[in-house]
């Protein structure tokens, strides 16, 4: 009896707290920045063409075989406007099959595919979640605008360059090099 009363008192004490739930279709809880939604294709606005060259590496690495791609010669390359010799002609992702694992984004060497914040792409038709190239690029532009997307390889290059300058100045004796001290003997693994 006493313990039940204690539990009841606890419930009463917690009752005036603000609810942590949200009424879903009306209100959305915030999405974390690193959220992986459906994959989309990115748009290179400097040249005015997609990043994707249709190299098929994502298609081959996809665990569920949910996408397909077709490559063509890049007409802009002949005009000398673009460094890409090949460009994507057709691309299709079946969002009904996609498991949002992020492998395609990880293996892409051209920054062409990225995991967007899209997660509410329902459809009433059986094959209604097959998305073609124009739609993928449209979703991609949306994501690029809202998240301030930059090509990951460029960010990596900048990081490496910054590291090099730090190391160079450290070698010159301007700034002491950052010391990394392991707290315990470096023995990881089973």
């Amino acid at each position: 009896m006493l313990n039940s009363l204690k539990g009841l008192l606890l419930t009463l004490r917690i009752a005036p707290r603000k609810p942590v739930t949200a009424e879903y279709p009306k209100k959305h809880l915030p999405i974390q920045d690193s959220y992986m939604g459906f994959p989309v294709l990115t748009w290179d606005s400097r040249i005015g063409e997609p990043y994707c060259t249709g190299c098929m590496v994502c298609v081959r690495m996809c665990p569920t075989n949910c996408m397909s791609a077709l490559m063509k010669d890049n007409p802009l390359n002949k005009e000398g406007k673009s460094p890409r010799k090949k460009i994507i002609e057709a691309f299709e992702i079946n969002y009904g099959r996609c498991i949002l694992c992020g492998i395609c984004e990880e293996v892409c060497a051209f920054d062409a595919i990225t995991m967007s914040h899209q997660h509410e792409l329902g459809s009433m038709a059986r094959n209604g979640r097959r998305v073609d190239l124009p739609r993928l690029l449209e979703l991609g532009k949306l994501y690029q605008d809202e998240s301030g997307w930059r090509p990951p390889t460029e960010i990596e290059k900048e990081k490496q360059a910054a590291l090099k300058t730090v190391q160079a100045s450290a070698a010159a004796g301007a700034i002491p090099p950052p010391v990394v001290q392991p707290t315990s003997p470096p023995q990881a693994g089973p």
């Binding site: 204690k6 707290t183 693994g189």
Partner: protein
């Protein structure tokens, strides 16, 4: 029961499931009942069979990690970790210290999340509504951190053979330590609400007893075995990863009844918080998150390996036979829920029909893992 029948009567066969809400998935039991008592029970599994082991033979190693997420879908990180550890053992890869600490912390958080869901459903099985709300509330907190870390709430695909996919966000350490102290408080709250509640005690004490001998005979592992009084935990008996660097206790039960199995998991959550706090203190702030020299599509040398880790449900083991290619020749999974479920038959005998829900709930099975 069956012996002390006043009248000559026949047992009645009752189907429980596969759509019964308390079976925690699609699981069917056939019960032979004598009035209120269960004379014999026969569990039927396989409704969620996806052929994971066979699928693994056709997938590249990095793709297999996505399949492992979907086995025990309440402890995704723990599953991924087991596969990665086994592969690292096979390939003799040295994982960077920082990556190993991150993986360990995430797995311990995942253990708390899984036990929180158990806490909720256990209360629900006993007829209480509040615990399930509280359990899900705490689990959601942990999952928000998972989302910030790996990009997904449940199917993470974050661990890699030789490290992790990408480094954690900058404020990660502060967030985890904040979460750990929040969880510490809420575990006490949850404990106060349900553990010693009179109604709950009546429903769970001395229900579904499993003696230590029986538990060993059935091959039960994890909290269900420890509740029977055997202090077997892979983390201490066969320390893998960095577990020999932490101070923590292995809670042990006395009776092996439903209440013991429940209270032990609550205690285990406290121990997990303890491990997380120690790990945060020891974790290096900078360093690589991926081992060098591991190719994107690893080709382990010819050979075989077995590695078991302590999942929230028991010993989760992976046995890999490699023929030197980029796909495993054979991959066998030892799912703890599947083995624990076999003891159900012994536990249900001579118990009430109403208690069968409690007993099944206290085993904490996940059918994604049972059926594979």
């Amino acid at each position: 029961m069956a012996q002390s029948r006043p009248l000559q009567s026949l047992d009645m066969m009752v189907n429980m499931g596969p759509q019964h809400p308390s079976t925690h998935g699609v699981f069917r039991m056939v019960l032979w009942v004598d009035g209120e008592y269960i004379v014999e029970a026969e569990p039927y599994i396989g409704y969620l069979h996806r052929g994971t082991e066979k699928l693994c033979e056709g997938e590249l190693y990095p793709q297999i990690i996505t399949l492992f997420d979907r086995l025990d879908y309440l402890a995704n990180f723990n599953n991924e970790w087991t596969l990665c550890l086994a592969m690292e053992k096979l390939m003799s890869v040295q994982v960077p210290e920082r990556a190993e600490y991150i993986r360990l912390i995430l797995c311990e958080l995942n253990r708390i999340a899984s036990h929180m869901l158990f806490y909720g459903t256990m209360g629900l099985d006993a007829g209480a509504m509040t615990p399930v709300m509280w359990g899900f509330r705490e689990r959601e907190r942990i999952q928000r951190l998972f989302e910030a870390t790996s990009g997904a709430r449940m199917m993470h695909n974050y661990f890699r053979i030789g490290g992790i996919k990408e480094d954690v966000p900058e404020d990660w350490k502060a967030r985890v330590s904040g979460l750990a102290s929040e969880l510490e408080k809420s575990i006490e709250e949850c404990d106060k609400l349900l553990t010693y509640n009179e109604v709950y005690l009546v429903r769970s004490v001395n229900v579904g007893k499993l003696s230590a001998k029986e538990a060993l005979e059935w091959g039960v592992t994890g909290p269900c075995l420890r509740a029977s009084g055997i202090p077997y935990d892979v983390r201490t008996s066969e320390p893998y990863s960095l577990y020999n660097r932490f101070q923590f206790d292995i809670p042990v039960g006395k009776n092996g009844d439903t209440w013991d199995r429940y209270a032990l998991r609550v205690e285990e959550m406290r121990q997990s918080v303890k491990i997380i706090k120690q790990a945060l203190g020891q974790m290096p702030d900078t360093g690589p998150f991926m081992a060098t020299g591991v190719r994107r599509i690893p080709r382990p040398p010819k050979g075989e390996v077995y590695l078991g880790t302590e999942n929230p449900r028991g010993e989760f083991g992976v046995y890999i036979v490699s023929d030197g290619g980029d796909k495993p020749y054979r991959l066998k999974i030892r799912p703890p829920s599947f083995v624990n479920l076999q003891a159900l038959k012994a536990m249900l005998r001579n118990s009430y029909i109403a208690d069968s829900v409690m007993i099944l709930g206290s085993l904490d099975i996940v059918l994604g893992e049972v059926d594979r």
